[in-house]
């Protein structure tokens, strides 16, 4: 296997692994956050507005971790810096 296909294989495998592992934690965290928020709304329906707003802000914070992983996997696949380097070096 030459260097170019090594880079390609590593990029694809790493992109898949990044999404798989990177979405594991945030999805668990979001599930816990929504669970707590739902029980809080069930107990205090009057506080619904502020609870929902805080929930959205918190979900955005948690989700950004998964989004970082997604952006990195996109960079690895579509805009890989090593790919261009090895294409130039290999001719």
């Amino acid at each position: 296997m030459d260097k170019l296909s090594l880079v390609a294989v590593a990029s694809i495998v790493i992109a898949g692994l990044t999404m798989a592992i990177g979405s594991l934690g945030p999805s668990l965290g979001q599930g816990k956050a929504i669970q707590q928020a739902l029980s809080a709304i069930a107990q205090q329906p009057d506080e619904r507005n502020s609870l929902t707003r805080t929930l959205f802000v918190g979900l955005a914070m948690i989700e950004s971790i998964a989004i970082y992983c997604f952006v990195i996997s996109m960079i690895v696949i579509f805009a890989n810096p090593f790919w261009g380097y090895f294409v130039k070096a290999g001719g």
């Binding site: 802000v57 989700e63 970082y68 996109m74």
Partner: protein
């Protein structure tokens, strides 16, 4: 009609016109389009405002939008709501319109480019010290960086930078991922599923605009109100002493 190919990560790479160092790409064109719609639309509506009983329906629409934004900001901060409405409202309307217009064929949301979202996040990054200083003065603003003691100064600075980065990448990642999902689905199952994802994309676009506006309001409120409390505490201590 596909302007940005599937293997291009950002609409910045599609260059329409270039002359020496000036390049006009798709992002700039669509940013101008959104800006023009917002400016010309609100100019047309606010050209003849009326306070009587007969109010035009577009004036009703804009009044609903503005009063909703004011209400949301008013729940976050206690006083000085009208200081924040221009910035936060503009951010929300711009992001919301540029995301929602993604259902128009041939349109690429300018927020799918990292440059646009970085520019918006830098606006918030500058607005935080601006509002903090204009409300509490330079000394109180700078003092907040050394709370609870001077060891925490680098952490405060890192927090400022990393949350700007988070704002940038969150909006960019959400909108760009939606574009890519549509592009991939069109090549796999082109019949019904892209429509469902487009409908989901409308929801995501509005929620992301809301989150961007709310988070920038949270950052600005934390820079202004936290210092007000410590300032008040000092004043009350001074009174009791």
């Amino acid at each position: 009609m596909e302007i940005v190919a599937v293997n291009q990560i950002s609409p910045d790479q599609v260059i329409l016109w270039s002359w020496s160092f000036i390049t006009i790409n798709v992002t700039i064109i669509y940013t101008w389009l959104v800006m023009a719609i917002l400016v010309i639309g609100s100019w047309l509506v606010t050209r003849n405002l009326s306070t009587g009983i007969n109010v035009s329906r577009w004036q009703h629409f804009l009044e609903v939008v503005i009063s909703t934004i004011r209400g949301e900001i008013g729940e976050m901060t206690k006083k000085g709501v009208d200081d924040y409405v221009p910035l936060i409202g503009t951010l929300f309307l711009f992001i919301c319109l540029s995301n929602v217009m993604a259902i128009i064929p041939g349109y690429v949301p300018p927020t799918a480019s990292l440059m646009t979202t970085a520019a918006l996040a830098i606006c918030v990054f500058i607005a935080v010290p601006f509002y903090g200083i204009s409300r509490n003065g330079v000394l109180h603003y700078l003092k907040e960086y050394f709370q609870p003691n001077f060891i925490f100064f680098p952490f405060h600075v890192m927090g400022e930078i990393s949350r700007t980065l988070a704002l940038t990448v969150r909006l960019f990642g959400n909108i760009m991922s939606h574009e890519k999902v549509i592009g991939i689905l069109l090549s796999v199952t082109p019949l019904v599923f892209p429509v469902i994802m487009q409908a989901l994309g409308l929801l995501i676009g509005v929620i992301q605009a809301y989150i961007f506006a709310i988070l920038s309001m949270v950052y600005i409120a934390s820079a202004t109100s936290a210092q007000e409390e410590s300032h008040k505490a000092e004043v009350s201590e001074g009174i009791t002493a």
